[in-house]
């Protein structure tokens, strides 16, 4: 069935279709519709919705629900996600599956409620303490908000890890029709869970390894898991890259704008191709390497002062990688982006 949904609403509907058992959240603009929608729908389906006392409370409730072997999620926006970082680090270490939706707004500090992508470092590179990773999915549309949130629960369970759906205020607020259908989630056995049967007496979920060697072994175990995720789960959309004289790249809402930019430029006989990462961690490096021929200039566009671009540069050592960013909640106009492309093409090797 089709339904016109906001990106934020689509995440909640997807969670329910994915058989999510609980939503624990704390209100913050521009992510609040997620809590509103969850508050409406979760209880109607006998699932748990609880507004926590704080972001810390919410993520730790998710921790508890995950430890109980159930599917749980939370959602917030940048400043709230900063507060959740403690719990995310613990859950990564204790290998607790969960889904976190981050609707990025402008920062640092209180910033404002406009769209930005300035939390790439925070989410993709860590944010919490310690040597851990979380899978980061970057939906570029309402449809992908639905699709990626749906898949996030299976990924979380498969790899016993938190998964972040990283989006922005615009994608969260915009509406588009979403095709909603039944879905059979893949749910592995969870013998490690905590429940009220004798079988789980003595089960311990922990993130403390006092012995240095034991800790090193555990970090090594996590690292091996991350290597497997890197091999298997990286994704990106490639659009008109084959004959491109310049590649533009960006994720989320920027990816959408760049999609239109590619069309706009092609209409002006500029051969522009797009690489839109759909996972930010693992970073789809292979997609870039395959799609970009040596020497072809690349323009990274972000709603930040340059974060994704660092990974693009690390990946494409033999290409000039340019950057253009907007901040503060502003989106670039189409004409503005065309001018950036023209500028790069005039001086591609900078």
């Amino acid at each position: 069935m089709k339904k016109l949904l906001k990106g934020n609403e689509a995440a909640v509907v997807a969670a329910l279709v994915a058989d999510c058992d609980a939503f624990f959240g704390y209100p913050i603009t521009p992510a609040s519709e997620i809590a509103h929608t969850a508050a409406l729908l979760f209880p109607k389906l006998g699932r748990v919705f609880l507004q926590a006392e704080s972001e810390l409370g919410a993520i730790n409730m998710v921790f508890g629900a995950a430890a109980a072997g159930r599917r749980a999620m939370t959602a917030s926006s940048s400043p709230g996600i900063s507060l959740k970082m403690e719990g995310i680090s613990y859950m990564a270490c204790a290998e607790m599956p969960c889904v976190i939706v981050d609707v990025m707004r402008a920062g640092p500090g209180l910033g404002n409620i406009g769209p930005e992508q300035s939390d790439y470092f925070q989410i993709v590179k860590g944010g919490g303490h310690g040597d851990y990773r979380v899978i980061v999915l970057a939906p570029g549309s309402v449809r992908e908000m639905y699709q990626f949130t749906l898949e996030a629960f299976d990924l979380a369970d498969a790899y016993r890890t938190p998964v972040v759906v990283l989006t922005d205020a615009t994608t969260g607020q915009m509406m588009a029709p979403v095709e909603i259908g039944e879905f059979e989630p893949t749910k592995p056995e969870k013998p490690w869970k905590l429940d009220t049967t004798a079988a789980t007496n003595g089960n311990v979920i922990t993130s403390i390894y006092l012995d240095f060697d034991e800790m090193e072994r555990h970090v090594g175990h996590l690292d091996a898991k991350y290597a497997e995720i890197s091999r298997k789960e990286a994704r990106a959309e490639l659009y008109r890259t084959e004959d491109a004289e310049i590649l533009v790249t960006g994720y989320g809402i920027m990816g959408r704008l760049l999609h239109s930019l590619a069309d706009d430029c092609r209409a002006r006989d500029l051969r522009v191709g797009l690489i839109r990462p759909q996972t930010l961690w693992p970073f789809p490096a292979e997609f870039y390497r395959r799609a970009v021929r040596p020497g072809v200039p690349v323009l990274t566009v972000e709603l930040s002062k340059g974060q994704l671009v660092e990974d693009v540069r690390l990946t494409l050592r033999d290409n000039p990688v340019h950057f253009y960013g907007r901040s503060g909640g502003n989106l670039p106009t189409r004409e503005e982006l065309v001018r950036q492309v023209e500028q790069v093409l005039r001086r591609p090797d900078v």
């Binding site: 508890g64 613990y90 905590l194």
Partner: protein, 479 residues
């Protein structure tokens, strides 16, 4: 010979933390933790709750209590036991969550989580171990540290001026409605241990029946950080600590309480469809999306006006109607700085192919409901574009309009005639449809029926639609 005292079954037979000392705990000699552990284990076993108990291992000296209790357990971030326990409890309503928390954990970093879990009446039995000091981290001040007490972070003694008074946690908890039992007790003497044993058993019996939240503050002794012998430490509790923290049953109304039930029947996909309110007529008929009136693949729209003029719902109405015609569509509300200067927008993109950007810089169609919006956005509409403006509120047009079609409709006046000025947005949309043929009157009426469930509001909007439609058709013919 009858056994009068035995190892509680909820303790492991051997403790695996230290390979060399499998029968002893890791606590310092003379510490209160071990005594309390034993009383808790006894009560769990006596009430036959071993399977149902899930223990939160806190940050502090008792971080490794899961080496002793043979229950399911989880080690959690400092102070977050009540939140984690809440998460587990909501997923396992028959579980009894045991929060074992020290004074740094519960009274400092986790006070917020503790108070709220108590106030929600979670199915938690809390043991708040108050030994006036941070044990594991090296004897620093706790919120419960006594005045004048020297710690590693109050080397000159705690003062009222600098650190304030000790925090009376049980007293605070007793002010809440949800907890059924709130008490302060101690484990420093046989007499107090007996009292504590009875209290803990009562607590677990109540938990067994699902009677919610129990809070037991236990004055415990930390000879190591108090720099006292175990005997001195036990005496210190009687002579000094209990003067600040009196042993007391603050509250016990467990007998009058009803068990708490939080289980609800679970719904699946069919219930979701019902909850979403999806109706058959909402679905597009499939097939090929019709051509757009501007002859291209994509049409962009902006509705603009004052906040409160219904520009967001105007866009939504358009988006919903377009979706049913099998067009691709996106809707985007105005955001942040865009809303400056009395202009709120909604942007809609309608397309016969997948839509790239949902952002509309230069709309093919503009509905302007107030003057600032036509001055701001009107000049951006291209030559082939269409502007419908609310002539009830716009008495002057910007000089630099290039749109091919510029049509005024007295939307506010026509809406007032139809019954309410609020329906000016629907008048304008009707007018646009009448001029451009983008949508039919019936299609909009269908969307209205779905948007406005109240018959009176629907009727009003239908009259507004017709007024706008007639006006638009007339203008279309005139042009």
């Amino acid at each position: 010979m009858p056994i009068v005292l035995d190892k509680p079954s909820s303790f492991f037979d051997t403790f695996h933390r230290k390979p060399t000392q499998q029968k002893t705990t890791h606590y310092c000699p003379g510490c209160g933790h071990g005594i309390l552990h034993k009383l808790i284990a006894e009560a769990i076993s006596a009430a036959e709750l071993q399977d149902r108990c899930i223990i939160m291992a806190p940050v502090g000296c008792s971080v490794f209590l899961y080496y002793y209790f043979e229950c399911a357990s989880i080690s959690i971030p400092h102070g977050r036991a009540p939140a984690v326990a809440t998460g587990i409890s909501r997923m396992r309503p028959d579980a009894i969550l045991v929060c074992y928390q020290g004074d740094g954990d519960l009274a400092a970093i986790g006070t917020n989580n503790a108070i709220h879990a108590a106030s929600r009446g979670e199915k938690i039995i809390t043991f708040f171990v108050n030994n006036n000091v941070y044990g594991m981290t090296g004897g620093q001040m706790a919120p419960t540290t006594l005045l004048n007490q020297k710690t590693t972070t109050t080397p000159y003694g705690r003062t009222l001026e600098n650190e304030g008074a000790p925090l009376p946690v049980a007293e605070i908890m007793a002010t809440l409605d949800a907890p059924g039992l709130v008490a302060r007790t101690a484990v420093n003497s046989p007499r107090n241990i007996q009292k504590t044993r009875r209290l803990i058993r009562r607590g677990f019996e109540a938990m067994k029946d699902g009677k919610g939240y129990v809070f037991i503050e236990v004055l415990s002794h930390c000879p190591t950080n108090w720099r006292k012998t175990p005997e001195e430490a036990c005496r210190w509790i009687d002579e000094v600590v209990t003067k600040v923290y009196p042993l007391k049953l603050f509250k016990d109304d467990l007998d009058t309480r009803e068990p708490l039930c939080r289980e609800h029947p679970r719904g699946g996909f069919p219930e979701l469809v019902k909850a979403l309110g999806v109706r058959a007529e909402e679905q597009d008929a499939g097939g090929v999306p019709p051509a757009l009136p501007n002859g291209t693949d994509t049409l962009t729209f902006k509705g603009a006006g004052f906040g409160g003029q219904g520009v967001l719902s105007l866009g939504l109405l358009l988006a919903n109607t377009a979706m049913r015609k099998a067009w691709e569509v996106t809707w985007l509300p105005s955001y942040g700085p865009e809303m400056r200067g009395g202009v709120a927008y909604s942007s809609v993109v309608i397309s016969r192919k997948p839509i790239g950007s949902p952002v509309v810089d230069c709309p093919d169609i503009l509905i302007a409901l107030n003057k600032p919006s036509i001055f701001k956005l009107g000049p951006l509409v291209p030559e082939q574009g269409t502007i419908v403006y609310n002539s009830s509120m716009i008495d002057e047009l910007p000089p630099d309009l290039s749109a091919g079609t510029v049509a005024g409709v007295p939307a506010t006046d026509l809406a007032a005639e139809a019954g309410s000025q609020k329906a000016a947005n629907t008048v304008a949309l009707g007018c646009l449809a009448g001029i451009t043929g983008l949508l039919t009157r019936e299609e909009i009426a269908g969307a209205l029926r779905e948007t406005y469930s109240k018959p009176a509001v629907y009727d009003l909007n239908l009259r507004a639609l017709d007024a706008g439609w007639r006006h638009g058709v007339r203008q279309g013919t005139d042009a």
